[in-house]
């Protein structure tokens, strides 16, 4: 192929590295105001009184909104449950909740005005811990809940009422009791993961204004323009064409920008101010706005001495913070993969999403999968150690293969997990059983290798639409609402369209999302863009191609099947003289060499799960991945260094191998941070490390000296050119691979609570010594 599978130069890369890109916080509009939020200092409190009089009198303050400005709106919103107020109503449920929003002539004025707002609170008992939150006597965050009418397919959740459990998801296979009865051995452990930050460099940022006609315009750094449009239309009771969402290049998302955050309150403020208002969060506000769920995962596995795993029971609790956001989606997505990419005859898998008075969560690269993968892949190594067998062999015995039936009852296709594991094992220099041998004593620096694999679904069913516009000069633009968030879709989508239309790469561009112009897309999340938008783009391009061939066939008096479209012209195969340029085709069709030829396609995936049984079709395609790590553990200080790492993902067919490799590398670094040190810390619901000085991401110095990305390619019949997504694929196995490497270095000493910080390792080694 001319373009697909080639590492063409990334579009926009130079502009980014030279600082030429205007991101959402850089935008300027005439008469623009600046927003600043007054946020709750309490984790849970009733609002008794708000007095904004002094703030409103401050020169330069144009508008202030509070709960009193919500009349006539649908004041609650959310992707799954309508539980988030546009601004706090009567009650705050987490530190940092927005109680009022001020628009001022400058950021400083707005900030000063925030300090002049008087509020009386009545503090309420709060709950922060997952297990505390599910107790019957725990303070309840949401006594009443209303499922949303926008967005996700709500019928797939089992919403709970009464306590803090928001949703429960369950799926099973075989007979779990019988499985455990027949097992020779059973191991059972609990794993935990703390909240962590997405770490997108660009904070949340948006600008809103209302046109005189009553149309709302939002320029926002979102991964989800169509979703924001839908949500805002619902809140303001507008038809969707009266909400226009425009998205510039986004400076990173990782899930943190998938749902409406700033947009609802900002739109309301702009309406009151009657001027454009811009709201850019500070970093500590980002910490109060989104994060990864904390989780507690109980896992129990029964197996025979001959190495057959008979039964696995998982019960996972996801701590979703004060509002549901996509917590139920996360818990569901984690549930059916919680026994791993394995064939296990008897399984019982249950997940819960649980409200607490911690700041809100949201999707996070790997959604619920990283949590359960941390548990099941640590457990696989423990079982191998107990059985004294090679952990790779144990996995290979149970890994799902092409056309196997998964726990959801669906047939799996494009299953490259065995290749991912085997190639990763080879690349990391895996020697088999001896990797788990107990190390010689009396050494300060011990080395170990570890491996892990993962399976993940993409959100299903969903819809992506695209249109391709071909100009008479043989250049084309893809109109798409998918968002460039650094993953490189401006490049990969141009490759797909260029490949289909036989155009040189430089002749194809990809639009930025603008919901007035670009068609619907579910969202740039769930690593779905290459597969879904790629398919829509390819089919839209094919639509244009068919129109070109149709005109040419008549003119050239040839059959369509005998024509080929290449390098900007249509020719008859084998008869090079019989050809027409795109310009000639335009002249033939339109009478002149101007105009546009449009192609369009709406790609919809089928599927969905029955919430009662958990059965159905969970995924339009499945991600498979593996990670291998070699670590060095300083047993005296507990410090772990990752010396070498390998991440592998099944890309189906890599459209741009280099970009896929960068995704694998990004997955490694993100996973390494949360494996070894990243952790948001709270004191009574108040984040205490909410900046990048106290909460640090891995730096280049932490990057392993040796890194290798592996792309397995098991083409998927429904993907464009066989391609699947890779964005999140390799993240979930990173932490367990590192955890397994540490355990192998230390003769089986295992930390089950992330992150594996030095003090935990030192304490575990001491405990081990005392027990011996």
């Amino acid at each position: 192929m001319a373009l697909v599978g080639r590492d063409v130069t990334m579009v926009g890369g130079l502009a980014k590295v030279t600082g030429a890109v205007n991101y959402a916080p850089d935008l300027q509009f005439p008469r623009m105001l600046y927003a600043k939020a007054l946020r709750s200092p309490y984790p849970h409190a009733n609002i008794l009184r708000i007095d904004t009089a002094k703030a409103e009198k401050l020169p330069g303050v144009v508008a202030v909104i509070t709960q009193d400005d919500l009349h006539g709106l649908n004041p609650y919103f959310g992707p799954v449950v309508d539980d988030q107020p546009v601004v706090a109503t009567e009650r705050v449920r987490h530190v940092g909740e927005v109680v009022a929003l001020v628009a001022g002539e400058s950021r400083e004025i707005a900030e000063e005005a925030v300090g002049l707002i008087e509020i009386d609170y009545e503090e309420l008992p709060a709950v922060f811990d997952i297990l505390e939150a599910i107790k019957p006597d725990a303070p309840v965050l949401h006594a009443q809940r209303k499922e949303t009418t926008a967005g996700v397919h709500r019928e797939e959740f089992n919403f709970q009422v009464g306590g803090n459990v928001c949703s429960v998801y369950h799926v099973e296979d075989g007979d779990i009791k019988k499985g455990f009865l027949e097992a020779d051995e059973i191991i059972e452990n609990t794993y935990t993961l703390p909240p962590v930050q997405h770490g997108h460099i660009e904070p949340h940022a948006a600008t809103a204004y209302w046109e005189p006609s009553g149309k709302l315009v939002l320029h926002t750094a979102t991964q989800n323009p169509s979703g924001i449009q839908e949500q805002l239309a619902q809140i303001f009771k507008l038809p969707e064409n009266q909400v226009r969402v425009i998205v510039p290049l986004v400076g990173g998302g990782y899930g943190g920008k998938t749902h409406a955050r700033l947009e609802p309150a900002l739109a309301l403020l702009a309406r009151k101010a009657r001027r454009p208002v811009q709201w850019v969060l500070t970093r500590d506000e980002v910490f109060l706005t989104g994060r990864r769920y904390g989780a507690l995962v109980k896992i129990k596995t029964g197996f025979k001495r001959d190495g057959r795993i008979l039964a696995r029971q998982v019960e996972a609790f996801y701590e979703i913070g004060a509002y549901a956001l996509n917590g139920p989606v996360n818990a569901k997505t984690g549930c059916y993969v919680s026994s791993g990419p394995y064939n296990i005859p008897n399984r019982s898998l249950t997940t819960y999403s649980v409200y607490t008075n911690l700041p809100p969560t949201g999707p996070f690269r790997g959604v619920g999968v990283s949590h359960v993968c941390w548990a099941y892949e640590s457990e696989m190594d423990d079982i191998a150690r107990r059985l004294n067998v090679d952990p790779v062999e144990l996995r290979l015995k149970h890994l799902v293969r092409e056309r196997d039936i998964f726990v959801t009852g669906e047939e799996l296709i494009s299953v490259g997990v065995t290749d991912c594991l085997c190639r990763t094992a080879e690349a990391i220099g895996w020697k088999g059983k001896e990797e788990q041998a107990v190390p010689p004593e009396k050494k300060n620096l011990l080395r170990g290798k570890g491996l892990a694999v993962a399976i993940k679904s993409t959100t299903t069913p969903t819809t992506s639409s695209a249109s391709v516009r071909l100009n008479a000069d043989g250049s084309a633009v893809l109109l798409t609402s998918s968002v460039e968030i650094g993953q490189g879709l401006l490049t990969s989508m141009a490759q797909i369209v260029g490949e289909e239309l036989g155009l040189p790469f430089e002749r194809v561009t990809v639009s930025s999302p603008d919901t007035d112009v670009t068609p619907y897309d579910k969202s740039t999340s769930s690593s779905r863009t290459t597969f879904h938008m790629g398919q829509a783009a390819q089919q839209a391009a094919r639509d244009v191609k068919n129109q070109l061939l149709d005109v040419a066939a008549k003119k050239l008096e040839a059959r369509i099947e005998d024509l080929e479209l290449r390098d900007g012209s249509v020719s008859v195969r084998g008869v090079p003289d019989k050809k027409m340029s795109i310009a000639e085709i335009f002249r033939t069709r339109f009478g002149s060499t101007v105009g546009s030829m449009f192609g369009g396609y709406c790609f919809k995936t089928a599927g969905g799960l029955d919430p009662e049984t958990g059965k159905g079709k969970a995924a339009a395609f499945w991600f498979f991945s593996a990670c291998g790590a070699e670590v060095e553990v300083d047993v005296e200080t507990g410090k772990v260094r990752v010396l070498k790492a390998v991440t592998a993902a099944d890309a189906g067919h890599a459209i741009h191998p280099k970009q896929c490799g960068l995704q694998n590398e990004g997955s490694l670094l993100s996973g390494m941070g949360s494996a070894l040190f990243e952790e948001m810390v709270y004191d009574n619901g108040q984040p205490i490390n909410s900046n990048f000085l106290e909460y640090m991401l891995p730096s280049l110095e932490d990057h392993p000296q040796e890194f290798q990305s592996i792309l397995v390619e098991t083409p998927h019949p429904d993907g464009p050119f066989g391609a699947k997504g890779v964005g999140e694929a390799a993240l979930p196995p990173v932490a367990p691979a590192i955890g397994n490497a540490i355990a192998n270095a230390l003769g089986g000493v295992r930390i089950r609570d992330l992150p594996i910080k030095p003090d935990k390792l030192v304490a575990a080694l001491q405990a081990e010594k005392e027990n011996r």
Partner: protein, 282 residues
């Protein structure tokens, strides 16, 4: 960030007068520490006094008799990359090199680093081991005090209102051999969980003199006087290293913070001190 006035004095005298007249005003040099505190609302100063317009406050001089003199506005990167520092005080260059990342070190000044009084920092530990002093000025007169007396606690220094740290003075290195070890529990760019500076003077395998300073575990860098005394006149055997490590571990008074618990740090200090000394000897 709230609005503030930015004063830009041209001379030290003016700067000191501004700071003296307005007790709430804060001196601004590289800004890497102060601006973070302001962003978090820990300080909400009405006036910042920018020191960067004052001439003659950066630069590095070395004299065999007097030692090293570093202007307070010298960036940490300029200290670590100075041929003089690298030649005569490689441990100081190393401690500066280990601060955060290149972007921070290009902005942050050595004077600001010391005046900030952050115990989770690398240069103060190395400089206390070198028995450095600081020049404190009110514009008119200057007093010089030992850095070990200047650093009083977490964000506490001996600076009086209206006083500025104008220079850093380090005695000649004599025949010290030394090392500085930074230990982080998180990202390698993080501030230290512990920092160890060890300077050793050996004659024919016998320790003539030892300076041992433990930083970042308690509110100020602490010299291990007992351990230093114990080491003098001894051959530094494995057993002596163990004893010194154990002594340092016993003497330190660590505080809990996000980088580690007090008990972990106590244990860590023993290990790192032993390793630092072993590194100097070998």
């Amino acid at each position: 960030m709230r609005r503030f006035e930015l004063a830009e004095p041209q001379t030290l005298e003016e700067a000191c007068a501004l700071l003296n007249d307005d007790g709430d005003a804060k001196a601004l040099a590289g800004g890497t520490a102060l601006l973070t505190l302001i962003k978090h609302g820990i300080f909400i100063p009405k006036t910042l006094v920018n020191l960067k317009k004052i001439g003659g406050m950066s630069g590095i001089d070395y004299d065999r008799q007097r030692g090293l003199r570093i202007g307070a506005l010298t960036s940490i990167y300029d200290v670590e990359s100075s041929p003089l520092v690298c030649q005569y005080y490689p441990w100081l260059a190393e401690a500066c090199h280990l601060v955060a990342n290149i972007r921070i070190r290009n902005m942050a000044t050595i004077g600001g680093n010391l005046a900030h009084g952050d115990y989770q920092s690398d240069p103060p530990t190395a400089l206390v081991a070198l028995d450095a002093s600081v020049d404190l000025t009110r514009g008119t007169g200057t007093r010089q005090i030992k850095l070990s007396e200047f650093l009083l606690g977490s964000y506490e220094t001996a600076l009086q209102p209206g006083e500025l740290l104008s220079a850093l003075v380090v005695p000649p290195p004599d025949s010290w051999r030394g090392t500085y070890i930074k230990f982080t529990t998180g990202s390698s760019e993080e501030r230290p969980c512990a920092g160890i500076a060890a300077l050793l003077r050996m004659e024919q395998g016998i320790c003539r003199d030892l300076r041992l300073v433990v930083g970042a575990v308690s509110p100020r860098p602490v010299r291990m006087h007992h351990a230093e005394e114990f080491a003098r006149g001894k051959e530094i055997s494995e057993a002596v290293l163990q004893t010194i490590g154990a002594e340092a571990s016993r003497v330190v008074d660590p505080i809990d913070d996000l980088r580690g618990s007090a008990s972990y740090k106590r244990q860590l200090v023993g290990v790192l001190v032993r390793r630092a000394l072993a590194a100097v000897i070998h």
